[in-house]
Amino acid sequence: MSDLGGRFASGDEEAFTQVIERYSRKVYALCYRILRDEEDAKDMAQEVFVRVYSKRTSFRGRSSVYTWIYRITLNMCFSQLKKRKATMIPLDDVERTLTAPRVDDESKQAELERLVSRALGGLPAKQRAVFAMRFYQRMTFREISEVMGTTVGAAKANHHFAVEHLRRILGEAREK
């Protein structure tokens, strides 16, 4: 177990502060990438650290603190998505966005950003999580598989599905 991990698991308050300093921004970013809502992500990031604190003595050091926190983050975000009961934006809605009239370059750019955001929000939750960890947080597939509790192959497959799904949706956008 790493020094920080050991102190953290033994209930050292200073170590918990360090854990927050080191990982809170990354956790917030991951929450946002999965939940696609700023306020929800802000609340969720705090909830994650409340959970991390309450579970810290059960951290065994079999994985890194980082992996352990990410696993908690994913589980909590997935639960939140289930509560929302709407993890997918219907494709029809995305397509409707694509046909919105374009006025000038600035609005075209804004439209594209909105489209990208909606396309990401339309991914199934696990693909969204894997894609976020891989593409935006530059994690290796091995790290992702440890966080997800799956094989490296499964993490890769989820990533490839996500890329293909996004390619299809954004490709249609370009054609229109």
Binding site: K55, G153, F161
Partner: protein, 218 residues
């Protein structure tokens, strides 16, 4: 790979992301020289990835970060639960496990001792319920491989969220996703306990008859 052989799309995605080995990259580049459809696919993945780079995470106000730890700590101050409640919930959990252990072999399939037969008669929903109620006992009863049970124990020790665990064991839809899991399980097959059933993450839980190779009898 022969230059006229189309690479798999997974390979092309890896190539577009710069994740293929130098040797593989050379092979793919040679193929792209004359294959218009693969070239167009790679270009379309590259374009997609460049669009996705536009997606940014909104930065919360400085106040959010300044008070982040304070707000977390306010939430984690110890809340004392009356001892009687703690005792009652502990006893209830223990009782539930005992009832479950009794109920599985006795009530579902009288006169049969074989776990395989018991599980074969249960629906996926019932099995998920059993795992949710008592993950340790039911995984042992299901004959999960020792390695898997250890993984589950690690997971539960760290999160203690059984429903999330169950969700991870099910829920995937894509055929090739399931296949990739199967392949990985086949690699580990030698480590598994012979003559037992395995939990297969995929679209629900499937069962294999004893000693039937994974991927064929499920």
């Amino acid at each position: 790979m022969m230059a006229d052989e189309h690479p798999a799309r997974d390979d092309l995605i890896d190539f577009a992301e710069g994740e293929t080995s130098p040797e593989r990259s050379k092979q793919i580049e040679a193929h792209l020289e004359f294959c218009k459809s693969c070239r167009s696919y790679v270009a379309s993945v590259e374009k997609t990835l460049s669009f996705l780079g536009m997606d940014t995470v909104p930065e919360p106000s400085p106040g959010y970060w300044a008070y982040f730890e304070q707000r977390v700590r306010e939430r984690v101050r110890p809340q004392h639960r009356p001892l009687i409640f703690a005792l009652a919930s502990g006893l209830a959990a223990a009782a539930a496990v005992l009832v479950l252990l009794w109920w599985l072999p006795q009530a579902r399939v009288p006169h049969m001792q074989s776990t395989e037969i018991i599980m074969a008669e249960m629906t996926t929903g019932e099995i998920l319920d059993v795992i949710s109620e008592s993950p340790y006992a039911s995984l042992v009863l299901l004959g999960a491989a020792e390695e898997d049970i250890r993984q589950v124990e690690t997971y539960l020790a760290e999160t203690e969220d059984v429903y999330d665990l169950v969700d991870q064991l099910s829920g995937a839809e894509e055929e090739s996703f399931i296949n990739s899991l199967r392949e990985s399980m086949q690699e580990n097959e030698s480590k598994r306990i012979e003559g037992t059933q395995y939990l297969i993450p995929g679209d629900g839980i499937r069962y294999c008859a004893p000693l039937v190779p994974l991927g064929k009898g499920c």
